[in-house]
């Protein structure tokens, strides 16, 4: 049974290397998820675990009142298809929510949101 499992693992990994693609989960972000920054950031940057489909991947940033505070230029980085970013208008102290919805290149959709704070 152990040999069978080992063989299956190798087979699956070999096959995986030729066309597989997982769900794109958020790996990390800048500003950090749930973090606090003293200096207002000029942009938010999100790194995902998979390559993203640029045409169907979005990010938006809103303030506590729900008003959009990004410059509506959210896009997948042309050099790093795992990176999604958006420029921000000058932010005052407060809590901001980053909302994203992305499509990985193998057509799996994932979505999520997180907050960060500007201030001490």
């Amino acid at each position: 049974m152990a040999r069978l499992s080992a063989g299956l693992v190798v087979l699956l990994l070999l096959l995986a290397a030729t066309g597989a693609g997982a769900h794109a989960f958020l790996d990390r972000a800048e500003p950090r998820v749930g973090g606090t920054v003293r200096t207002p950031p000029a942009q938010v940057t999100l790194w995902f675990t998979e390559r993203l489909e640029p045409a169907y991947s979005r990010v938006k940033v809103v303030n506590a009142a729900g008003q959009q505070v990004d410059k509506a230029d959210g896009s997948v980085d042309s050099n790093d298809p795992r990176m999604l970013r958006a420029s921000l208008v000058p932010l005052g102290p407060g809590t901001y929510r980053v909302i994203w919805r992305v499509l990985s290149v193998d057509t799996h959709v994932t979505e999520g949101d997180f907050t960060f704070r500007v201030g001490s």
Binding site: M1, S5, L8, V9, L15, A22, R32, D113
Partner: protein
């Protein structure tokens, strides 16, 4: 029995209308990993191979205590995005304190599951299932019964990500569970033993059994992606500590209320294409045993490994 199953299968097929359901145990932001001891609440294209359990069982009647090791595998396949079928088999090695050791297959188990409700906003899933243990397909000497057992069940999964931000530390928690009724197709079995001139007849009664269980999980992936990133190393960001309760309560035929089961604390590491998990197995009472066991599982996400072939539903998208 097979006619009844065919009717139920047909009904479930009719109910399985195409609806937006994510495979892979996703409900909104929540990723539910496949649990080791109890069945999952979601429909998926996944493969468990193997799920290994090693524990010392208590003796009962004429049977001495025995070391038991089982290697099981399960293949789950979506027919439509919210309706799936699964096949599970297990090879068991029993090494009793007295007498010869035995190895044999358990009965084949076939499962149907319909994911009836999914709420992305509330990270919630409810599914209806029907399990069928096919009697006579395993080895009788290692405990496989000669009759069928049918188990209708309800499954649920609920993430706590919709809690208010003031309780954000609790958001990574999730609870999954199931309640089912295992209905044997034979109420009792009669065994005739002939020893010289003496004839002994043993009657074993087979009760209906409520099968129930829960899994409480704390998802570090959820914590770091949606709540607060404490800067954990990448290996730890994929860990999901959990504790599972796997319980059985007979309800009739002289055994009513005699609950047995195990508490299974452990941890799962969920990667891109597979997850691995390990749990300790603690019997909940003396009826369930006295010794601590261990369980391990390797589990593949076929929808991610083969997104355009066997990892997608047969019908619908």
């Amino acid at each position: 029995m097979r006619h009844c199953l065919a009717v139920v299968v047909s009904l479930l097929m009719v109910l399985a209308v195409v609806a937006p359901v994510s495979a892979h145990g996703l409900a909104g932001k929540r990723f539910f990993p496949s649990t080791l001891a109890i069945d999952d609440p979601f429909v998926s294209d996944e493969l468990t191979l193997p799920n290994v359990l090693h524990i010392k069982r208590r003796g009962s009647g004429d049977e001495p205590p025995a070391q038991e090791t089982s290697f099981s595998g399960e293949f789950s396949k979506r027919i439509t995005p919210n309706f799936g079928i699964s096949f599970e088999g297990a090879l068991v090695h029993v090494d009793p304190d007295e007498g010869e050791s035995l190895t044999g297959f358990e009965n084949l188990e076939v499962g149907l599951k319909y994911q009836a409700f999914t709420s992305a906003a509330h990270e919630a899933i409810v599914s209806l299932g029907l399990g069928w243990e096919v009697g006579g397909t395993g080895r009788k000497a290692t405990g496989a019964e000669s009759f069928d057992v049918v188990t209708p069940a309800i499954f649920f999964g609920k993430g706590f990500g919709d809690l208010p931000d003031s309780l954000s530390a609790l958001k990574p928690f999730a609870l999954t569970g199931l309640v089912g009724l295992a209905i044997p197709t034979r109420a009792k079995s009669r065994t005739v033993k002939v020893d010289g001139d003496e004839v002994e007849v043993e009657i074993e009664r087979h009760p209906n059994v409520v099968k129930w269980g829960f899994a409480l999980e704390y998802s570090l992936p959820y914590l770091t992606s949606y709540v607060r990133d404490p800067g954990l190393p990448s290996f730890m960001r994929r860990l999901i500590p959990l504790v599972e309760l796997e319980l059985e309560t007979p309800i009739d035929r002289g055994q009513g209320g005699l609950t047995t089961g195990t508490v299974n604390p452990g941890i799962i590491w969920a990667g891109r294409f597979f997850q691995v998990g390990v749990e300790a197995v603690f019997p909940i009472n003396e009826r369930s045993g006295k010794n601590v066991g261990v369980r391990g599982m390797l589990h593949f996400f076929l929808d991610d490994l083969f997104p355009t072939s066997i990892g997608r539903p047969l019908f619908g998208r």
